[in-house]
Amino acid sequence: MKKLLLTVTAVAIGMTGVGLYASPETDQAAFVNYFTKKFPDTPKEDFVNGVYSIDAASREQWIEIEEFPPYELAIDAGEEEWNTAFANGKGYVDCFGEPGVRGNYPYWDESRKEVITLELAINECREANGEKPLKYKRGKIADISAYMAYASRGEPINVEIPNDEALAAYERGKEFYYRKRGQLNFSCFDCHGGGAGNLVRADKLSPAYGHTSHFPVYRSKWGGMGTLHRRFGGCNGQVRAKSFKAQGPEYRELEYFLTYMSNGLDYNGPGARK
């Protein structure tokens, strides 16, 4: 009985903690509201364009860049890779059916009890067919992902949270997002929520709403393509936190949460950024 009482009290205390037990739907509505209020001049569907959705000056430059997009080579390379058979004669098409399936990821896999991302699925397709897995941050995996993203442009972001275990993964991703970390003591949201629109050195900070829609991305600073988890690692490192492994559980759950926050927007990858 004493134990039960303790549990009940603990739960009651937990419930009063702000934000902890809000449903994902409520979370998302508040999240969207936060950004649309903060940037009232930005049409909702434009948040998929990152910092260019809130910064007229750099937007013009970016529109020019998009005329001859630097990610085009990656799309071509990805298409070629897609059409090249594995040593066993099979190909990506045997795993995915068609390239335009970006919109199915990330998802909660009920039997494996983990979040599956597009890049993870690409490598698992390779391994199932006797091919070596690719490195996760750049290179060939970004090419294939770029080709698939391109074929999926206009697909709605619609991440689902089908059960309590998926909800727990979502909650872990959410906690990751709002926790301050690193020597500089910043949370993701400190920069991409409260700080969105501010300058960090020469960079204007983009709003988090729409953040995962356009990956992989060609980034001038990288001089090439990079995946979403490469970006996560870079942002952790910036605040002098140790980054996590690309496609490890932490970043996959972070992707799950952050993509859910953009539900209702459209996929528009690959993208070009400074």
Binding site: G17, V18, G19, L20, A22, D27, A30, F31, N33, Y34, K174, E175, F176, Y178, R179, K180, R181, G182, Q183, N185, S187, F189, D190, G193, G194, N236, G237, R240, A241, K242, S243, F244, E250
Partner: protein, 101 residues
């Protein structure tokens, strides 16, 4: 070089070696403790970016005989991990207040 000078040099070398060995014991215990703390922070997902690097540099400094530098780096790494763990614990109560309502 005369014989007495060689003797002096040899004594100096032996002496410094002995004192280095004693300090090396201290160093390696201090290094182990700092590395354990780093791992503790790591398990929480709270490790900072440069802590591991500092510990590597400390090892290198010790190997090169720069004891003072080595110990200083170990102390700094330990402090970072303690701060990282404190940050993690503090944030346990604070993060949720940042979620837009």
């Amino acid at each position: 070089m005369n014989l007495s000078l060689i003797k002096v040099c040899a004594t100096a070398i032996v002496l410094s070696f002995a004192s280095f060995n004693a300090a090396a014991g201290d160093f390696s215990a201090a290094w182990d403790a700092a590395d354990a703390k780093r791992k503790e922070a790591g398990k929480m997902g709270a490790e900072w970016r440069d802590t591991g690097k500092m510990l590597k540099q400390a090892k290198k400094a010790a190997e090169e005989g720069d004891e003072a530098k080595a110990m200083k780096l170990v102390a700094k790494a330990l402090e970072q991990s303690e701060d990282a763990i404190a940050q993690y614990q503090r944030e346990g109560n604070l993060w949720a207040a940042r979620v837009p309502q």
